[in-house]
Structure formats: structure tokens, C-alpha cells
Symmetry: none
Subunit: 416 residues, 2 copies
Amino acid sequence: MKVHLITVGDEILIGQITDTNSGWMARQLNLAGARLTGVSSVGDQEEDILRALEQGLALADVVLMTGGLGPTKDDITKKALARFFGVEMVFDEPTYSRIIRFFEQLGRPTSEAHRQQCFMPSNASLLRNRMGTAPGMWFEQDGKVVVSMPGVPYEMESIMEKEVVPRLMQHFPGLPIAHRTILTAGEGESSIAARLEKIEDSLPGHIRLAYLPNLGQVRLRLTGTGTDEAALRRELDHYARLIHKQLGQLVFGTEQEQLEGVVGQLLREKGRMLCTAESCTGGYLAHLVTSVAGSSEYFKGSIVAYSNEVKMKQLGVSRATLDTHGAVSEACVREMVTGAISALEADVAVAISGIAGPGGGTPEKPVGTIWMAVGDRHRIFAQKIHAGKSRLKNIEYASAHALNYVRRFLLGQLES
Amino acid sequence: MKVHLITVGDEILIGQITDTNSGWMARQLNLAGARLTGVSSVGDQEEDILRALEQGLALADVVLMTGGLGPTKDDITKKALARFFGVEMVFDEPTYSRIIRFFEQLGRPTSEAHRQQCFMPSNASLLRNRMGTAPGMWFEQDGKVVVSMPGVPYEMESIMEKEVVPRLMQHFPGLPIAHRTILTAGEGESSIAARLEKIEDSLPGHIRLAYLPNLGQVRLRLTGTGTDEAALRRELDHYARLIHKQLGQLVFGTEQEQLEGVVGQLLREKGRMLCTAESCTGGYLAHLVTSVAGSSEYFKGSIVAYSNEVKMKQLGVSRATLDTHGAVSEACVREMVTGAISALEADVAVAISGIAGPGGGTPEKPVGTIWMAVGDRHRIFAQKIHAGKSRLKNIEYASAHALNYVRRFLLGQLES
């Protein structure tokens, strides 16, 4: 199955937003075994949309479009599609009823713009949008498929996962393709690649290994194709086991798992309640933990001690520690762990204090210097890490690193 | 000047990297008054590159390409360009000397691959690459321009700024273009479109209005072109003022501002310290506030009270309130505001308690029901909002909404 992507929107062409939809879609389509022929980004002009459609359909079996379906005047994808297929726009009553119900639930009025949104090309099969008002549209012509989706990322993602990918797989059945994903944290891409060199050299031609690094984690993805799906899956399991064995404690999970979910599951199994004490990460670590549904079963809360007064008053950090060692120090994060366990009545705490930047760095403690500690009422471990120079990346990197620190603490992998 | 962008690389088409080059280039070109006709991403295949080149040159005066200039085998942009122009590849001695010097400085050896990198299409003018080894290439044919640059972002950016944009400005002196962006929070795209209908209908043909919605915020962008740049800017200012007047308190800023920065600036001006008390948002609101560099000047910290015990012990919420009204109630968020101000010794607090989902909903309080309160030692305001069904979106939406609530409180826009 060959697929071409078209992203529509003047906001892309003037650089006001970066098109992340096409990257997300490329990843999903790659996993589904599709081959991308290219991506075209065009502006909100009918002629440009029509040209991209023609070029896309000349190259591929499927053209997926995002953008230009909202209720405002610059959204003209639908009209371009009607013209492309030579059909009328017709009013879709069920969509209108759904939009009215949707806004009633929100306690907001609907406007004429919402009614206009319900006119669709007459040959469109509508695809349910569970996250917003504009449905996706599925068109078929001469054995090829065109799909139009809203440009809002989470709406597009939901329609892709629930509607488009399953239908495409049915429409264009291909050679079985299978994946195994092994998730690692704590070492970089090149260090992991060096550890896996022999295994990688031994892979047969129909199995590939890809490295997907992100913020202190590296996802390893094995992709295989073959005619015998069961044999292929056994083969992939074999190489996944080899990789897991080679990397040992660096592996924290597989497939769609996330570090925050793995940590949550460990806490649940061990019946322990977690809390966090954060300075430079400003609540982002607590956000990661609570992004998991059901996290209230193992998470008590967090004290974001952005000021030193809060560190002293709420977390019991001593003035002597702050005066002698500063807030970014091993002594401080150790006291934050003890103070958080006591204040929030938790079993395990993780604490972070560092210099996220861009200001606040010194020759001894440059921007990116981050101390963290993890522990319970009996033992506390601490370590210093060095992040980069970008404030937001430092916050995200330190938080991800702290989560992995909690995981290793819970598994007894830390040494005194 | 009309410009078309082509980004080359299989890694884009399998979703392994997200193409951020085209967004960066689009912004620079937009500032320079160029109009982008589109962006094409293609794989490392000569025929795809040639097709994209032909299509790009049919639409635009200039085609800018990135990617496919490195020393590895799959980088074939140069060969495709030589074929496109019908010229030979010739060895460029100065480039080779520079590469050898560059690696000598790093103390690393050069390889045959580096020598291969010095073969260029014979009609190329080379553009100096201050950040790496592969130079950019400038081609002219029939009054049109084609430029090829490396795909490494900082190398491309350096060549664009120092070489390409200045040359293009000289080559295609064009009509001025200008933009005004107005930032709003609190109402959706269609509701704002309804309020602006008359203004939008009155816009002259050379000025357009675009809506860019995201999580309870809508950015409005006016774009105009004209021969008299000063007159154009005055005209845009006029329409920006009309829009601002029509939308009133919904407007929180202009251009590149962000709501968290605007709230921070207000706190700084008023000399007030903020704190947050969060339940369902789990620290995300504090993260938004602290994502701004220098936020320690006006932010004390946060208590993330995920469990009811923490709400009682740290925030002083009464057991009677929790028993009678529940944690997701007006009474609870009001007590959270008072408790946070006292615990964190702040002037202003904002509190959030709601049902982020997917579990925990009831018929009276379905998933997405969120109470929030904002106040100081004298007055507290509270409101209930209804978010959607996705846990993460609810967290982000509620946090953004709460920030806007703080802004309106600080500006005295809330009524008892």
C-alpha cells in the first residue's frame, strides 16, 4: 500500500505552526506496513489542494489529508474535494445533531458557522470524530482512497487509530509485517548501539532494528516481514529476548508501555505510595506520574518548592543546608525526600533540585546541573546529572531521569 | 518572490524524524516577504527528487532543498541535481582542502567518503557552510533559482541566514508583506468567528484573517500585502485595533506572547506572589507557570494534593466539606485557595479539582467536570468548567483555563 500525505494550511506555509501531523502519520503508516511516497504541504487555496490531490493520487493508492475542516472561512478542503470529485455539497443532519448535543453538554451556544460545517461532499463516507466536531471523510474512486481529517492533532490521531488505519488494512491487505519494541532508559543511542553490535550483525535480511532516542530513553524497534506470520513472530520474539538479555537493567518495558506506567505498576504491586518534591522541574515530574489513569491509587501528591521558604517550611529543609550547600546540592535533595515523606504521608519520595536555566548558572554549578534523590524511611540515594542548555528540555529530561531512578529504587537496583 | 521547499530524506517518510527544517525556513521566508507555494517531502530516490524539482519550479521562482548532501550512500540530492541540469560532476579542490583542515582541527582522519563529498554539479556556485563540511549549492536557470543545503538543522540555518536569504532579497526585490497576531483565551474558534463576522467581511482583498485554535485559546492572524509598507502596517494596526475592541477581555496578548508569560508579567507588575493548589491537573499548571524563565520571581510553589489526606493536611480542606460536597466542588476549591495562600505564604492562589478521567465520573459529575477557584486573602472567585473526555487534554485544557482565570482576577475582570 502506497500512501501520500497532504497537510493543508496557510499557518504551515508561513511557519506559524510546525507540521507535526505528517510525522505522526508517517510513523503509524510505517508500523502498518505502508510505504510513504511523499508529503505535500499546501496553503488554504483550492487550486493548490486540487493540484496536490492529483499529484498524490498519481503516485499512491491512498491520499490522506489533514487540515482545513474547521468552521471558519479559510477552511476550504471540503469544497476542493467536492470539486475534485465533481459532486455537490449536501447537509448532513446526523452531524449537525451531534454538534448541537456536543455544545449543549458544554453549555455553549452553536452558531451559523457550525451549521455550515455540516455540509459535506455527497460522495463522502463520514468517519466518526470522538474528540471534536468535524468528522473525517472517506472517498473511493477507481480503486483508490482519499481521506480528509481535521488538522487538530488529537482529533486526527483519534480518527486515524480508530477509523482510517483499520479500514486501510482491510482495503489493501499486504504481506504480514510485525514489530517488537524494547524500551530502555539511562543510556544514549550510541552506547546502546555498541552493546548491540553483534546482535545487529546477526539479524537476517527481513528483520531490521531501528533506534528511536528521546530524552534519556531509547526505544528499539524490530520490524520483520515474511509470508508465515506465526514464524515471523517467533523469530522476532527470539531477537527481542537476545536484546533484552544483552541490555539487562536498562530495559524498562516493551511495546506501548511508558516509564510512568511501569513505575505506577511497580508501586501498585509493592503496595507503596509515592510522592514528589520538586524545585527546578516545577511540577512536571508530578504531571508525568499523574498522566497515568488511576495514579491516585499510588500517588499522594507533590510539593513544588520553587522558593527556598517553601523548601524550609513545607519540606523541612534546614536553613543551614541552604546556606552551606545551596538549594542545588545533595544535602538539600536528601532533606527534601525526608520532608516530603513526612508532609505527604507517603512511603517513597523522589526529589529534584537543579538549574533549569537559562539564568542561575555559576562556574561550579552551570545551567543543567541537577541533583536528585530517591528513598523511603530507611534508605536514601542521591545522584547528580548534567542536562543541556534548553530550559524545557532540562525540565523534561530531569523528570524522565527521576522516574527511572524511582524504578531502579523500587527494583533494588541502586547500591549504597 | 514565490518559493517552494523540498526536504529530502527517507527518515522523514518513515517518521523517524519530524521535519522541522521546513517550518524554520517558512518563518524566515515569510519575514523576508516571500510567499511559500508549498513544501514537498520526498525520499532518497533520484526520480522523486527530480519530480519534486520540476513541480516546484513550475509553481515558484525559487526552490530551496535540504537534505541528501552528507557522505553516506543514500544521499543522492547532488546527483539528481546534476542530472536535472544536464551537467557533469566535477571535483572541487577548495572544498576538499577545507574538509581536510576541518578534520585535522578535530584530530580525526578523513575517509574516501569525504573525498566523494567534494564532487559537485559543474554549474553550482558554492555557498559557504560555517557549521559543517558540505557546502550549500546555488543554481540559476531561466531566471529561476535552485538552492541545495545540508539537512542538519544548524548547518542549514547558518547557510540560510548568511548566504541564501541575502542573495534572494537581492535577486527578487518584492512586495512588502506584514502580519499582526492577536491572542485570545476563553472562547472557541466558531464563537470568535461569529463575533468578528462584520469585521472580517469588511477586510480589503489584500488583507486576510486566519484562526489558529489550540486548547481554549485562539490566535488570530492578519496578513497583508501592499506596495507601501508603512501604509500597510497602519492598515493592519487599524484592523488589529478593531478586532481587539470587538473581543475586549478575551484578548490576552499579541504576536509571540504566551498566556503563562502574560500572567507572569502581570504578577511582576503588581508585585504579587502566586501559588497553585492542584488535584486533577497533577502539577501541570505549576509546570506551565514555571516553564517561563525567571518565574521564581513571582511563583512560590504548588501543593499537588492528589489524595484527600493531602488536601486536608497540607491545604486545610475540612473533612466536612469533603464528606458533604466531595473533592470536586466549589467549597473544596475555595478552601484550597485559602489553604495554599497560608501554606505557601503567597498573595494569590489558584486551585483546581476535577475529574480528568477516564474513570471517576458519575451522572452528576461526569468526566471533564472541573472546579477552579482563584483569589487572595480578601476575595475568592470560583467557576465550574466542562472539559472533554481525554485525560491529557482535560489536564492541559483545565490548566490553560486556570491561567486565564488568574489573568482575569489580576486585571479585576471577575465579578462577585
